[in-house]
Subunit: 207 residues, 4 copies
DNA sequence: GATGAATGAGTCTTCATTCAT
DNA sequence: AATGAATGAAGACTCATTCAT
């Protein structure tokens, strides 16, 4: 009995499972959330879920991939509207500083992300997957902007793009993690703005 | 190793258990590391370990408290040798930038710390314990230095000490986390130095 | 024995578990009987049992509830066939005096019951559950008969129904407990008959 | 190194351990009370306790033996003061009906006794020990009085002493057990008095 | 494809007893 | 005799995954 259902149907089901899983992981953490939690919250049967995903791990991985893709796609799309590197950077910082307001799940997302990341450091497959993702997507995003800025003459020519881009994400993620853990005791927006100001100063200082 | 045993003996045993646990937690993570792992690696019996700690959680908590205390004590001790706020800040940054060399466990420590921190965000008791620790130890450390700098006239009088101290740790920890996860692919030292430079510029810029 | 299983199937499984548990509890006592005993004797897997009962305690409680219900239901059903209070009382006593012959498990049942009862005295929840059961089922059974007898003029009008009913069960249970513990060295039937005779004399003496 | 301490010292220590154990057993039940509880409450060391008793079971058994002996000795002593069988019986009933007031531990004692008794039904050694005790001490106590009464002409000559004595203890213990479990919701004194009245009527009725 | 009952290895924790000092 | 740290065999319970229908 080969597939009777459409590809869309399958996609829809996977999405439903992943969204439910996300809620469960956010609430309890990956390890503490059980398949039964996902079953209960999704309204699907255990067997059904295992039809779409081979394991709990797989749900996790695909979930993370999809969340990353979603966020990065939206950023990329909008980024192309700007011509100047400085504008692009400011736009990016602006997105992060408003992340709280535009994405109510963000705190949870961060927590799930970190947990995932942590796991990955103990699993060669995950680790290299994430390393790639980091280098080819996130770092590249910044590097491209910085290189554009250098080419445009906006940013100093001796700027170490790779280094700055690494630092950029270290800072943004550091702030985000604090926010994810500290919750609303933490002045997230103020932190992003101040950090952004400091970073921008590095880029446009030599004018 | 029998009854009527010295206080040192007991301390030594606790230390042995904690060190073993640290290795296990670092290797597998808190949740994945089992009491049996600790038993096996410590060479002690299960009952013996439970004589010293009521639960796996308790080992974790005491371990983290001790590691924090160790690090903060050493910092505080040395910090008092400097008179100028700027010197203190530079010393602190210097410590962190050399953390790798002076503390071979540091990568593991960071990973275990973050995992702990994450846990804490889902456990009210842990969370308030850590929040306190953060506010009263780490933040206070920086705030005191910044206030001294303001009093000395080294730093601008309108400096928002609390905000800067929060940002300081967000950045340092962001960098550390990347290092903990990325391992030796990450230019940890360079990151700390660059970030430190940026932070110092904020403090002493108005001269 | 797969999914989409009938309600009967589930009931049958629960019953199977409870019956196995009963045997184990009777043989070793509640505390000494282990889940592994029940697993082994039932031929089911541990997980399967935990699918039907949340805990060993829960098996115990449901088992006792069901046993109580069974016995009381049968009594009530037959009791309604008699019109006179005296006949009802004699019927009841008769049931108990023949308990041995009609219920081969009865000795075990008693032992398990007492153990349960003892436990209950140290657990507020259990205790109030049992107290309720005692008052609303067992005591009420007798009180209703005695009140009927008073209304009918069979029994003296100044009879303290509540007191007599409490005494009734104290005596019957005292005898049963001895039987449960002493086993076949104990003249159970003779005891119930003699005690019954003494009790009946209290009720119908004033004619 | 043979015994240095006197026999009295040893007896005193054993008594101390047993009294502590009694409190622990009463509070938590035999199984739930741990040797550590006894250690903590007695103020002695674990090794010391094991010097006086081979096992937890042994403490239990000796404790029960001693409690039984204490109670029976006191009864016997006073019983000899009376000449008439009826007086003896009334004295005995009187003791039980005042048990609550004169022995504040009595409720606990009962619970511990029943638990012990239950255990015994699953352990051949214990069982035969208790059966002996029952027959040779408790039953004999009543039988002797009844036989005296028959000889004196106080009680009917055709009285089945053995049967009545068995019933006597079944009723008294039934009432006691209810009291032990139900605690102060149970009209213990009233029950003993009423039951005693019923029993006495059996003995002296034919005059 | 869907269902959910069954599986059983794995987890933390307890505790009577031992024994070196 | 006394001490109390050490032992390790249980014990209750969990949960990712499988598979018969």
């Amino acid at each position: 009995m080969p597939p009777i259902v459409s590809e869309e149907y399958k996609t829809k089901m996977k999405k439903k499972i992943m969204e439910t899983a996300f809620v469960c992981f956010a609430e309890k953490g990956f390890q503490n959330a059980t398949m039964d939690d996902i079953v209960k919250n999704s309204g699907m049967s255990k067997g059904a879920i295992y039809n779409y995903f081979k394991s709990k791990d797989e749900i996790y991985i695909e979930l993370m991939e999809q969340k990353t893709k979603e966020s990065i796609d939206k950023i990329n799309e909008n980024l192309s509207k700007f011509d100047l590197a400085e504008e692009k950077m400011r736009y990016l910082l602006n997105i992060y500083s408003h992340q709280i307001e535009r994405n109510p799940d963000w705190q949870n997302l961060i927590r799930v992300h970190i947990e995932f990341w942590l796991q990955s450091s103990r699993d060669e497959n995950l680790k290299s997957m994430l390393d790639d993702r980091m280098k080819n997507i996130y770092q590249k995003l910044i590097i491209d902007i910085l290189e554009l800025g250098k080419k445009n003459g906006e940013f100093p020519g001796n700027l170490d793009s790779k280094m700055i881009s690494t630092l950029f994400w270290s800072i943004i993620d550091g702030i985000s993690i604090y926010y994810g853990v500290m919750k609303d005791d933490y002045p997230y927006k103020q932190m992003v703005e101040k950090a952004g100001e400091m970073i921008m100063k590095e880029l446009v200082k030599k004018n």
